[in-house]
């Protein structure tokens, strides 16, 4: 009975919501704003959004849209549709039947089994779904069918509207060479030395010499960091040519390359454009994407601290000119390289909603920002895993279907302009003209986005890692990893907190690197370019470098945590039958010895209630917390400084991993007695790592260059491992004779797997 009432109630509520949708949304927005105004400085944004909704509340777009995608992007589109009062249809494969996007949509249609070629790329089934549900328009998201001409044609034949740029524009901009020619024609600044298709290595060298070193070699068809190599001399040009053409062939099935002048110390700044079907186009300000690793974005912010309004306008106007030249009628991104003199050069135009470079691979299943790579990677490996059990396959699936989605497109731009890009795309697709003028586009506040990847930042600033996400908790009160503030300092401070509050367990992630960058003084000053990471960390990223004060804080926190867990171990609930009278231990002072980075520190800790008084190497600190040993996050007060720490592991032998200031530190805590006796313990002989080669990441062996008995020189290539479609050259650690080779082309290898041994 009760259940019946509830469902009736919700039906009524749903009906009302349907009728009065825009008004209610406005009220809610306003309420929300009032309620949280003191916590957020986003009210400005909310007001802007509210005004937008109010303006277009009577504008009729579509009754029903089919979202031909899944994961995060699908959720993002559905969210905007809901806001606009449009019914949504989700499609899914049979394994995705219970994913978030399906739950969010009003209707869902299964379009086939798990392999994407039979489901999300299955045009017939999708056309069938469109007919069945009578959807009037299709939002393709990105990847899958978003750039498929056939699909666009089929839709046109059925009078169904395709939401996104038309195929002509996609094609024109999808090809790097054609896009540059078009850009030149539209009087957009292009990079000097730009030339055509490269046939072979000799031609590559000839062209490179003509342009003058350094040059960049990359795939015509690819974007982002794929197939991109920088060469400073002839030999590197040959190497680069070989690698890039291989990668281009394996990633895009198209081995065309291009060579162009490499601009030293450039910034990567991109302009968001929005066009309609009436020949209008706007620029929605810039995004600063200079912090990159291997040419892939790590941190984005809007606006850029580097641009003045004149440069901004000049870039915006050129971007708009290009958009108009290709009759661009959707949201798109025009990427520029900007040199230190604020000269800017057109790089390429992205014709879809943002596709972070790493997500372009294979299918683009995005369940959450983080586990994506692991997911994709694992799916990719499925084919080989059966044959090769135990090797390489380290996990089954990334869970986390239910984690909130965020930031598929350009949240930083939306934050500072107050525009909902998906909404504008839908309007434009319906044929409405743009409803803003250039003068309407504001820069309100500052927004920063961090790309949290499932990768190990200590290896080349991020080599892919896989694992099963065991715990995942996004920062509370902060929408994903986009933070907003009235100014840059505020936005960055919030980002710092957000990163400290981000709980990711089970997979390696790059939070340590992200946090280090946003507090880096050069970054804070705005003095950076695309080479920032390699300049700042020439020997590779090593984690946060603790100041003496920070180190003492860490040691004090770790000891307190240790003592807290020791004390907790005595707290047993008394039973009736318990024959052990438990007397409180009267240990007043805990004398401990802590090892951190091979240095041993002496600590004396004593506690009263929630506060520990800790003497670290003679210096006294007071540490207060709830000491909840189960909580993934622990807020700790050390002598008045608030720190958010995460205790990742606590072992019986005294080893502890603590994430402090973004970086994970390993400490070993022993009581004084144990530390004394530990001196007698023998060091176990570590493996001689120079004569063996282990895979630094999970991946597939694409080529093996040596066989047993070969002599190899230090630095010589042993094999190439492809991971996340990046080819990584594995080199010998020392000169010697190959004893045995443990891999062959086509093998799937896991992190730490033995590849080769030297004698």
């Amino acid at each position: 009975m009760a259940a019946l009432w509830v469902s009736v109630g919700s039906l009524i509520a749903a009906g009302r919501r349907g009728q009065r949708f825009p008004q209610q949304l406005m009220q809610r927005g306003a309420l929300w704003t009032l309620k949280y105004a003191s916590y957020y400085s986003r009210q400005q944004l909310m007001v802007t959004r509210r005004l937008c909704s109010a303006e277009c509340s009577n504008e009729k777009t579509f009754d029903k849209i089919l979202v031909a995608n899944r994961g995060e992007i699908a959720c993002r589109v559905i969210k905007t549709c809901k806001k606009m009062g449009i019914k949504t249809v989700a499609i899914h494969s049979d394994v995705d039947a219970s994913s978030v996007h399906v739950k969010m949509a009003d209707e869902a249609v299964c379009v086939g089994p798990a392999p994407t070629s039979k489901s999300y790329l299955n045009m017939d089934a999708i056309m069938e779904a469109i007919k069945k549900t009578r959807a009037q328009a299709v939002h393709p998201g990105y990847g899958f069918l978003s750039e498929n001409k056939e699909f666009a044609k089929c839709l046109a034949a059925e009078d169904v509207i395709f939401i996104g740029p038309d195929t002509h524009a996609i094609q024109a901009m999808g090809d790097k060479i054609e896009s540059k020619l078009l850009a030149k024609k539209a009087k957009v600044n292009t990079i000097p030395g730009f030339d055509g298709v490269v046939k072979d290595a000799d031609e590559a060298v000839r062209i490179a010499r003509e342009i003058g070193y350094p040059v960049m070699i990359k795939a015509s068809a690819g974007g982002g960091g794929k197939g991109m190599r920088i060469a400073w001399d002839d030999e590197e040009t040959r190497d680069g040519f070989r690698f890039s053409s291989q990668e281009a062939a394996s990633s895009f099935g198209d081995d065309r390359l291009l060579i162009e002048k490499f601009i030293d110390n450039p910034r990567h700044i991109e302009i968001q454009v929005l066009g309609d079907k009436h020949g209008n186009a706007l620029w929605l300000n810039e995004r600063e994407c200079s912090i990159q690793r291997r040419n892939q974005k790590v941190i984005e912010e809007a606006p850029s601290i580097f641009l003045d309004s004149m440069t901004r306008r000049a870039m915006g106007e050129q971007a708009v000119a290009l958009a108009k030249a290709v009759k661009y009628s959707s949201a798109g991104t025009v990427e520029f390289l900007v040199d230190s003199k604020k000269n800017f050069y057109f790089l390429e135009m992205n014709t879809r909603l943002q596709v972070p470079a790493t997500w372009k691979i294979g299918d683009s299943c995005l369940k959450a920002h983080l586990p994506v790579e692991a997911e994709v990677f694992i799916r990719r490996k499925r084919g080989t895993e059966e044959k090769d059990q135990g090797r390489g396959m380290k996990s089954s699936l990334c869970a986390n279907e239910d984690s909130p989605f965020h930031k598929v497109e350009h949240p930083v731009t939306e934050c500072i302009t107050g525009l909902d890009l998906v909404q504008e795309m839908i309007r434009v697709a319906k044929g409405y003209p743009l409803r803003h003028t250039q003068a309407d586009i504001p820069i309100n506040g500052w927004a920063v986005e961090c790309r949290v990847y499932a990768e190990d930042p200590y290896k080349s600033f991020g080599l892919p890692s896989i694992g099963r996400l065991s715990q995942y908790q996004e920062p509370i009160h902060l929408p994903g990893l986009v933070t907003y503030g009235s100014n840059r300092t505020e936005a960055l401070k919030r980002m710092e907190d957000a990163l400290d509050n981000y709980v990711i367990r089970g997979v390696t992630h790059n939070i340590a690197l992200l946090r280090e960058v946003i507090i880096n003084s050069r970054f804070v000053k705005g003095d950076f370019n695309t080479k920032f990471l390699s300049d700042e960390y020439p020997d590779g990223f090593k984690g946060h470098k603790l100041t003496e004060n920070e180190r003492n804080q860490l040691l004090a926190i770790a000891s307190s945590l240790f003592v807290a867990s020791q004390l907790r171990a005595q707290h047993f609930q008394e039973h009736e039958n318990s024959r052990v009278p438990i007397v409180k231990s009267q240990v007043a002072n805990w004398e401990l010895s802590i090892k951190l980075n091979d240095e041993v520190h002496t600590v004396v800790a004593s506690n009263s209630g929630k506060t520990f008084s800790v003497e670290v190497d003679g210096l006294k600190l007071n540490v207060t917390s709830t000491w909840n040993l189960a909580s993934p996050l622990l807020s700790v007060n050390v002598d008045g400084t608030q720190r958010m720490i995460q205790c990742l592991s606590r072992e019986a032998g005294g080893s502890m991993s603590i994430q402090f200031l973004g970086t994970v530190y390993k400490v070993r805590i022993l009581t004084k007695v144990a530390a004394e006796l530990n001196k007698f313990m023998l060091e176990k002989v570590a493996e001689d790592t120079s004569s063996i080669l282990r895979s630094p990441m999970p991946g597939m062996v694409v080529a093996v260059a040596v066989k047993p008995g070969d002599m190899v020189a230090e630095g010589q290539e042993i094999c190439v491992i492809e991971a996340m479609k990046m080819q990584n050259s594995m080199t010998a650690g020392k000169t010697g004779k190959v004893k045995s080779v443990h891999c062959k082309a086509g093998d799937t290898v896991g992190e730490g797997d033995l590849l080769m041994e030297l004698q």
């Binding site: 049979d94 089954s396 699936l397 869970a399 907790r568 909840n628 032998g653 144990a674």
Partner: protein, 516 residues
């Protein structure tokens, strides 16, 4: 940890046997100075063990002295040596007894006196209901003493057997342990080893060489690796003495003090009603795909703390201790990642022994089931899988502690019955929506039922629809509920609370007759 903690809490109530001390002083009080002096001298001599040279030699091998080991195992000042000052032993019963063989004295070989002292401590431990921890570092019987030391062994073995199921007995092998000495650890509930420095064998490499002409090193014959991966004699191995003793402290915390003590409940910070969303997606939809059962265990138990027993032996079954809402529980789970999680001889025996320990010491059992059946083949049949598989069946059926079972995926054939099924008096049996409870998998079943039929695929689909799901079992009450995986922790914690007062009466018998 808690071992020591609890020892500390109870005050100085430990007794120890020191193998080299032959003289026991009667009393310190009001004795002539000369007696006091003698006591002091003896005490100093005892503390020196086998002398500085031998102490150094022991340290050089990365090994600690008996007293140093004890100082790590227990809290400072919580340990008083028994049979050194007799009045201490008499004044206060030990709550955790500790037998310890000191390698620096006669290579720790067993003397009659030594055995006598061990027996005394064990007798006390049994009287008061206190666990026994043996730190073994012994060369075997002291040949010089002849039959007396053999008798000593037997005395200890008898104590081990008498104490079995009454108080938990733990052996930590910290050096060579050869000959007769090995049977004492074998009779105790758990045997832990220290890597690279400890060995367990009946006869050493020299004798092996002369008898069978096999060339084998100590490490290969009876090292920690051998016993934790091949023979299954030892339950876990640790890097060194310090690691081992720290872990032993941690391990001790999971155990009740005796069979009359309920499973300990430690202060718990992990909410008992915590939902575990990642479990909803952990079982792959394709029933042939593997996943890691350890992931399920870690995310269900308190603070992901799981003390695994025999982690490297018969890996197709996972057993170990964890806590649910603070209370110690024994976890048994099939591991689909290894041999599809099937039951074979080794895994049955591993599981059975663990289940019986938990049952003896009032530790509730949580069983996670994903089992495709017993492993077929001549190797298994010749090895006696029928007899050995029966052990696990027997152990689960016999257990009267609270039993909660979660079927995560497959529960096929006889193995379904074995894995703490409702029919073996499981108290609460859950199935996840992914559960398939049937006599066998679809493919095999269809091959038998529809032998010679053409439309095999349809028949398979029909079979899957009819049997490869939790409903047939749920309809008959063989599972109590089909639960959302994310709610597993909350449900188990709740059930355990209800089951605390569980009481089962079994008819009197001298002892049961498990198929050994």
């Amino acid at each position: 940890m808690a071992a020591a903690m609890r020892v500390a809490g109870a005050g100085a109530r430990l007794s120890v046997v020191v193998s080299d001390l032959r003289v026991a002083a009667r009393s310190l009080c009001s004795q002539p100075v000369s007696i006091n002096q003698r006591v002091e001298d003896k005490r100093r001599a005892a503390l020196m063990g086998g002398g500085q040279r031998r102490i150094d030699a022991q340290h050089k091998r990365g090994k600690l002295l008996a007293r140093e080991r004890i100082s790590l195992l227990l809290d400072p000042d919580s340990f008083i040596e028994s049979d050194m000052f007799v009045e201490h032993r008499c004044a206060d019963f030990g709550m955790a007894a500790d037998k310890n063989k000191d390698f620096t004295v006669f290579g720790g070989s067993l003397s009659g006196a030594h055995a006598q002292k061990i027996c005394k401590i064990m007798d006390q431990a049994m009287t008061v209901g206190a666990p026994v921890i043996g730190l073994n570092d012994s060369g075997g019987a002291r040949i010089q003493e002849g039959v007396e030391s053999l008798a000593g062994y037997a005395d200890i073995f008898l104590r081990n057997v008498m104490a079995s199921g009454v108080i938990p007995q733990i052996s930590l092998i910290m050096g060579p342990c050869a000959g007769g000495a090995v049977y004492s650890p074998a009779l105790t509930d758990f045997t832990f080893m220290v890597k690279d420095t400890s060995y367990l064998f009946i006869t050493g490499p020299d004798v092996v060489k002369s008898v069978t002409n096999e060339n084998v090193t100590q490490e290969e014959l009876g090292g920690a690796r051998t016993h934790t991966t091949i023979s299954g004699v030892a339950h876990r191995a640790f890097e060194n003495d310090v690691e081992a003793l720290c872990n032993l402290r941690e391990f001790f915390n999971y155990l009740p003090l005796s069979n009359l003590d309920p499973a300990p409940i430690r202060e718990c910070h992990d909410p008992s009603d915590r939902l575990v969303p990642e479990l909803d997606t952990i079982v792959p939809l394709e029933s042939t795909k593997a996943y890691n059962m350890a992931d399920i265990i870690h995310s269900v138990v308190d603070e992901r703390e799981f003390f695994e027993i025999m982690p490297n032996y018969a890996k197709n079954i996972i057993v170990g201790f964890a806590r649910m809402n603070g209370r110690t529980v024994g976890i048994v789970g099939n591991q689909p990642k290894v041999a599809s999680g099937c039951l074979d001889i080794n895994s049955s025996v591993k599981g059975a022994r663990f289940v019986r320990f938990c049952d003896a010491f009032n530790i509730p059992l949580i069983t996670f089931v994903d089992v495709p059946g017993f492993l077929p083949g001549t190797a298994q049949e010749y090895g006696g899988i029928i007899r050995h598989g029966a052990k696990l069946l027997y152990a689960f059926a016999e257990a009267t502690v609270p039993k909660v079972t979660v079927i995560t995926r497959k529960a096929y054939g006889g193995a379904y019955d074995v894995m703490s099924s409702k029919h073996l008096c499981g108290d609460t049996n859950y199935a996840w929506p992914t559960a398939e409870i049937a006599v066998m998998g679809a493919k095999g079943a269809v091959e038998i039922i529809f032998k010679g039929h053409e439309n095999v695929e349809d028949a398979q689909a029909e079979y899957i629809d009819k049997f490869a799901n939790p409903f047939p079992a749920a309809v008959r009450g063989f599972v109590d509920d089909i639960i959302q995986p994310s709610s597993t922790r909350a449900r188990i914690c709740c059930d355990l609370d209800v089951l605390t007062s569980k009481k089962v009466q079994r008819p009197w018998r001298k002892h049961a007759n498990i198929p050994l």
